[in-house]
């Protein structure tokens, strides 16, 4: 069982794709993958914005994100200037991408002239890191009068909601994506999604938050006497007043009072708020959006990826494919058993013995990774997959991101090392 290959370059070059959402559970390399995709797309001529959520320090530096800004900033060094960075070659053909060839030949490429300048497109990369609180503040300001906004921003309950409510990050990532898309400035927006246990949180959290802010419960609890909950209270009888009493005993009167004031100030915004979330959700379902699901070759990560793929299908959201990060393809055809047997014949200190044993380990590891991927592919045979062989250490600069990009776009191990006329190595069925 093998999956169709995910043609990353075709995806990045497709002018119809305007938004690329990178999803996956925590710890699978989502942020790095999003950044690598964005750099590659810009190198290939697109005007790209990448929205990262919580990049590691060195990756943030590589993207020029040293200080928090809530708008995308231009990343220097992208696209690569000739001579300063490795040339971007098409991973399949080994040649420069078409755009570059065309530009070099003096002939502007057909039908891809910039609408404004009438010149051949020039890639650009802009990067930003989500500032959750600021995005929320700006949204409040945009949806209410200055007076009311001030009241909301000063409410202690708002401070909780805007910083530590679970789901705020996801909601604000969606909000920011909606804003960036609305400007029409970029050919392609690559979105990293918040780190969470479950990839599904990204889709569910905004909905959860909208429901919460919708306020029926808030109203019931904060002023049960006035809220339209009479029918409900009748049903529940004395239990309800006991409950509100219990809850206010636990939460404290101040918190409920703050929540109540917050709701009153927020009330007029709910329409805009919900509408906005709905619009962003619609954007995610539009044909201009593609989802890339990212996983590592570990059972948990692939299980999450499978849930997410199923969910996208249910929601009619377009899935481009699966990126399987950090794989360890075998680079020499020699079975693990044969390698270990041979190592046993050699003195323990010999270099060849060490090499044979590390190779045998690698064969076992690759076999396990293959089994995990096969299990996924069996359940999802039509999902395109690309494997990204692991790089040692951390990606800390643009060249590192370009290397990941090359691996993303290549399909499988370097072909020179695995001649097609050799039999498959044992352990890689």
């Amino acid at each position: 069982m093998s999956s169709p290959p995910l043609d990353v370059d075709a995806l990045l070059d497709d002018p119809a794709i305007r938004i690329l959402v990178c999803c996956g559970s925590g710890g699978v390399g989502k942020t790095t993958t999003s950044a690598a995709l964005a750099v590659r797309a810009a190198d290939r001529g697109r005007r790209v914005a990448v929205l990262t959520i919580d990049p590691a320090r060195r990756l943030a530096q590589a993207l020029g994100l040293v200080e928090l800004g809530n708008e995308p900033g231009r990343v220097a060094g992208v696209p690569a200037e000739a001579g300063t960075a490795p040339e971007v070659l098409d991973a399949r053909s080994g040649e420069p991408p078409r755009e570059v060839l065309d530009a070099g030949s003096g002939e502007p490429p057909r039908e891809v002239l910039d609408a404004r300048s009438g010149e051949p497109p020039r890639g650009e990369l802009h990067a930003m890191m989500l500032d959750m609180r600021r995005t929320f503040d700006e949204m409040v300001q945009a949806h209410s009068t200055p007076d009311r906004a001030e009241k909301i921003l000063a409410n202690p309950f708002y401070q909780t909601i805007s910083t530590s409510f679970s789901g705020t990050q996801e909601y604000m990532a969606m909000e920011k994506l909606g804003q960036l898309a609305a400007t029409g400035t970029w050919d392609l927006i690559v979105v990293d999604t918040p780190p969470s246990r479950s990839a599904l949180d990204f889709l569910d959290a905004p909905q959860r938050m909208s429901t919460f802010l919708d306020g029926r419960m808030i109203r019931l609890l904060s002023s049960p006497a006035r809220a339209g909950g009479r029918g409900l209270r009748k049903v529940l009888g004395a239990g309800f007043s006991l409950f509100t009493k219990a809850v206010s005993t636990i939460l404290g009167g101040q918190l409920l009072a703050d929540a109540s004031a917050f709701v009153q100030a927020f009330d007029t915004m709910f329409g805009g708020f919900r509408e906005r979330a709905t619009a962003t959700y619609a954007l995610l379902r539009s044909p201009g959006t593609a989802f890339v699901v990212i996983a590592a070759p570990e059972p948990d990560a692939l299980r999450e990826a499978a849930y997410f793929v199923d969910r996208l299908r249910t929601e009619d959201m377009p899935l481009a494919g699966l990126v399987l990060n950090r794989t360890h393809p075998v680079l020499a055809r020699l079975s693990a058993t044969r390698a270990r047997d041979a190592a046993d014949e050699l003195p323990g200190t010999s270099l060849a013995a060490a090499v044979l044993r590390l190779h045998a380990d690698r064969v076992d590891r690759a076999a396990r990774e293959d089994r995990l991927l096969t299990r996924f592919s069996r359940a999802h045979p039509d999902v395109a997959v690309t494997q990204v062989p692991a790089v040692a250490g951390d990606v800390a600069d643009l060249d590192g991101l370009r290397e990941i990009g090359t691996r993303l776009a290549a399909d499988g191990p370097p072909s020179a090392l695995v001649p097609a006329d050799e039999p498959e190595p044992a352990g890689r069925p």
Binding site: G26, G27, L221, F240, I250, L331, V355, R362
Partner: protein
């Protein structure tokens, strides 16, 4: 390079909180730790708080209800019980204790009122979860002995664990009086006492190690006690130390490999030798990254190692991991 093992002070700990960056295997390690601590006739409880049923998966059983049940037998007659705490059920349990909600409680839950209350004050959720853990730690049998020799708490990941354990701060959001408030004092005392330790699971990679170091500092600043750093999925190093630097630099003697292979009766095409060289370079780079990560962890106190299991983790390998922990000194003294 060798880890320092489990110091005697950690054997007196009753509440073992296990955290780690996402993807490091903290749930597996928490399960192995519960098994290791139960070895030799002890009884331990492993508590899950994130509603993921990860413990059930690791032990290969059906999803756990909100009740303590036996989940595994430890070597030497011990037993491990497991509990998946559901904060909503825990809140209802509290409310029931002080107010007779009866049917209304269930209806409110169905309406989302309970979820609403725990959402309204995010700290409430944490207070309920740590409160339940405290109750399990201090529960005694008729003879007045603790029901559990040790309790292992599979806590939220490193990014959230300190605020999760900072009950004092969470209580600031809540009422100054009432049942939860009066109970929270005991929870705070337990969490900040030598009876509690926070173990951090990491891999020998840059990001998880950075997060581990940051979390140790945060724990200390919050007056919580870091326990052991448990390095998970350690892979064997096959190249001798003296060859690592050269190999990582791309200097691997292909001719020597070829002649070595030949003397073991293996003849490979030149491209295959190139492949072995490339694998060796990657292995060496990896060894260097791991050594650098290990160097940063040294001085962090107790350091334990768990081997990488090529076949992944199932119930059988969980016992292997528990054995590895016992071999490094993990256990409850008689």
């Amino acid at each position: 390079m060798h880890p320092s093992g489990w110091p005697p002070a950690l054997s007196a700990v009753r509440l073992h909180v296990v955290s780690g960056k996402g993807g490091t295997g903290k749930t597996t390690v928490a399960a192995a730790l519960a098994l290791a601590l139960a070895t030799g006739g002890r009884r331990t409880l492993v508590i899950e708080v994130e509603g993921r049923q990860g413990i059930a998966q690791v032990f290969d059983t059906a999803p756990l209800p909100y009740e303590e049940r036996k989940i595994a037998v430890a070597p030497g007659g011990g037993e491990v019980r497991a509990l998946a705490v559901d904060p909503e059920a825990a809140l209802l349990e509290y409310l029931e204790m002080f107010y007779r909600l009866g049917v209304a409680g269930r209806t409110l839950r169905r309406m989302g009122a309970i979820e609403f209350a725990t959402t309204l004050a995010p700290g409430l959720r944490d207070v309920l979860l740590t409160g339940k853990a405290k109750e399990c730690v201090s529960r005694k049998d008729r003879a007045g002995r603790p029901v559990y020799d040790a309790v292992v708490l599979d806590a939220p990941p490193t990014g959230r664990v300190v605020s999760f354990l900072d009950v004092t701060r969470a209580m600031a959001d809540l009422a100054r009086v009432g049942p939860i408030h009066s109970q929270s004092g005991g929870v705070v005392r337990l969490l900040h006492s030598p009876l509690t330790a926070v173990h951090l699971v990491t891999l020998l990679e840059d990001l998880p190690v950075t997060e581990t170091l940051d979390t140790v500092a945060e724990l200390k600043a919050a007056d919580l006690r870091p326990g052991a750093v448990i390095v998970n999925r350690v892979r064997p190093q096959w190249l001798p130390d003296r060859s690592v630097a050269a190999a990582a630099d791309g200097r691997v003697d292909a001719a020597r490999i070829r002649s070595g292979l030949a003397s073991a009766g293996v003849a490979l095409a030149p491209e295959m030798i190139d492949g072995l060289v490339a694998e060796t370079v990657e292995h060496a780079l990896h060894v260097e990254v791991e050594a650098a990560a290990m160097a940063r962890l040294r001085g962090m106190g107790a350091l334990l190692e768990l081997p990488n299991l090529a076949e992944g983790v199932d119930l059988g390998t969980l016992y292997e991991l528990a054995d590895a922990l016992v071999a490094q000194g993990v256990g409850v003294p008689a």
